[in-house]
């Protein structure tokens, strides 16, 4: 079954076409990475899938049900988004932030129950931020904060998890930590992972399948070994790239050629 099906969608904003007749499918419990140059429509696609963007034409369905038939609450219980940035003017503690992931499961004035606290605790353990539970969000490092947001996302118990460049601002060790967390989440809970990334090497190591966007369209999709070849990359990114095999993992390794 397809977790997500995007069928010929077009998104316009401010007279500019951001996504132009894009189609793609994501299978259940697949680890999909979306790559492409800046302005190709990656973030727009992600936001469209979680209903944050108005789609002018085409249709999006989740588990064969049209996106429009989901209420915000149902949607939040089905999928979560780890966004690129988050406002932190008035900062909650880590535990309070993660617990907010239970919002779609609670009634208007209903309090979080013991079970909700337990789910939040497990999510914090999973991303190893449980020792920070009482700290305020604005006192954390970038890597810690990203893990808190992912814990909040996990706390929503989504079947699909969307991530918008979750490793962009992190050092190599934290990048790897985040990718491994996603891999584990998929293996242990069958969560479908859809991630936007600029890091072709991380994509090569962890993705089942890569979708390549260019100028608002999905121009290619395939397993990393098929898709990450010099001809394709040069055509899309417009610069020379050398591809060989990673000596440890055996996955494609992309290097820039100056």
């Amino acid at each position: 079954m397809n977790a997500v099906r995007v069928d010929n969608i077009t998104v316009r904003a401010g007279g500019k076409i951001l996504v132009d007749g894009l189609s793609c499918e994501v299978k259940e419990s697949e680890f999909l990475v979306i790559i492409g140059p800046n302005g190709a429509g990656k973030t727009t696609l992600l936001k469209s899938i979680c209903g944050l963007n108005k789609v002018q034409s085409g249709r999006i369905s989740l588990y064969d049900k049209p996106l429009g038939s989901f209420s915000r609450r149902d949607l939040a219980a089905t999928m979560s988004l780890v966004p690129q940035n988050m406002e932190m003017e008035f900062s909650f503690s880590v535990a309070e932030t993660v617990l907010m992931g239970r919002y779609p499961y609670l009634g208007m004035l209903e309090q979080e129950k013991r079970a909700d606290h337990e789910i939040a605790r497990q999510a914090m353990e999973f991303t190893r931020v449980d020792h920070l539970a009482k700290r305020r969000l604005d006192q954390l490092s970038g890597g810690e904060r990203q893990r808190v947001i992912i814990a909040r996302s996990i706390c929503q118990q989504p079947r699909i998890m969307l991530l918008d460049e979750p490793t962009a601002a992190l050092d190599p060790s934290h990048q790897l930590t985040i990718m491994k967390l996603m891999q584990r989440l998929r293996e242990e809970q069958n969560t479908t992972i859809i991630m936007v990334s600029h890091d072709l090497n991380l994509a090569a190591m962890f993705a089942h399948r890569i979708v390549l966007l260019q100028e608002g369209r999905a121009v290619q999709s395939g397993i990393p070994g098929e898709l990450l070849v010099p001809e394709v990359l040069q055509q899309v990114y417009g610069c020379l790239m050398h591809v060989d095999t990673h000596p440890v993992t055996g996955t494609p390794r992309v290097s820039l050629v100056p």
Binding site: E89, F90, S93
Partner: protein, 334 residues
């Protein structure tokens, strides 16, 4: 505040002391005044042990009681109004007065006063219309950039407020001499012209308090940004619109009854946030109780500081609030 306690416990820990403070403020406010009717008289009158037509009873029931109740309700409304605007704009400096919402409401009220409409529904409706107009203007300003981009929206609000000030002065210059004194005093925040008969209209703010309390949890999520809140399951547009309309309505009711009292919505939430953190499930009731106590206290100062007569309470709140605003801005810049 200890976060490991359940929210109900924390709510009790917040509401109980603040409720006691408010009770104290209410009794102090009623027992203090220039006429020499003191605490003992008040207790006797409130317990019904004094003749209903005694002078002291009249002073308590007809002058001080309405005034203190007005101060409490207006203070609660303005503090809560500040809290809501701060959450929606994710800016601790947002406040109904600073954003010009109070000013718009005052323009509406003055126009209605000058053309001789009745206080209710005439002035009240015009005042609500005025503040809604400012709100729509603010939203249009905000829509150009991203909603709530920190300082640009605040700056827009400050300019709208300045414009409102100019329009108000223009309207006053058109007014007849007999009206000017009245309008000017009301404008600076005057709590002395309230009578018990106006109480039912004033109390229309209470349903707004309830609505805002119900929406406290979505307000928490909105602090992380509109998109974050939406993906967590908040109907962002619905919640935002409900909060904006309720807040604008209750602020315009407050302005109708008490004129322009600024900075209450800045001072009270700021202090409470330092004490109990950012959770709106606590901040909403705390702002209601704290705002009520704060304005009764400011009104006591306004009544007692001048050697003779009294000054508008808006003078006191501005003298406390404006320096705090500058301090907060200075600290945010660093």
């Amino acid at each position: 505040m200890n976060n490991s306690l359940s929210i109900q416990r924390r709510l009790v820990l917040v509401v109980l002391p603040l409720g006691l403070v408010l009770l104290g403020a209410l009794f102090t406010g009623i027992s203090y005044g220039s006429s020499g009717v003191g605490f003992g008289d008040m207790v006797r009158i409130l317990l019904g042990r004094a003749g209903p037509d005694s002078v002291a009873a009249a002073i308590i029931w007809e002058i001080r009681f309405p005034r203190v109740v007005l101060a409490a309700v207006v203070g609660a409304t303005l503090a809560l109004g500040g809290l809501v605007f701060q959450a929606l704009l994710r800016n601790p400096l947002a406040e109904p007065y600073i954003l010009g919402v109070s000013g718009g409401s005052a323009i509406g009220a003055i126009i209605a006063l000058l053309i001789g409409l009745s206080p209710f529904p005439g002035v009240a409706t015009a005042s609500f219309a005025g503040s809604m107009l400012v709100l729509v203007l603010l939203i249009m300003l905000a829509a150009g950039s991203s909603f709530g981009r920190r300082d640009s929206l605040l700056l827009g609000g400050v300019m709208i407020n300045a414009l409102c000030g100019a329009v108000i002065m223009f309207l006053i210059s058109l007014a007849q001499n007999t009206q000017v004194q009245h309008v000017l005093f009301w404008l600076m925040g005057d709590l002395s012209i309230f009578s018990r008969q106006q109480l039912p209209v004033l109390l229309t703010v209470l349903p707004c308090f309830v609505l805002i309390f119900i929406l406290a949890r979505p307000m928490n999520l909105l602090l992380m940004g509109r998109e974050n809140a939406a993906v967590l399951g908040v109907e962002v547009n619905l919640v935002t619109n409900l909060l904006l309309v309720a807040t604008t309505f209750m602020v315009s009711v407050a302005v109708c009854h008490s004129g322009l009292i600024g900075f209450v919505g800045l001072v009270v939430p700021h202090i409470l946030r330092l004490a109990i953190g950012p959770d709106h499930r606590l901040l909403v009731p705390a702002s209601i109780l704290g705002g009520a106590s704060y304005l009764i206290f400011c009104d006591l100062l306004a009544r007692s500081l001048p050697a003779a007569g009294e000054m508008p309470v808006g003078v006191i709140t501005a003298m406390i609030g404006a320096p705090l605003f500058i301090f907060m801005m200075w600290r945010a810049r660093r």
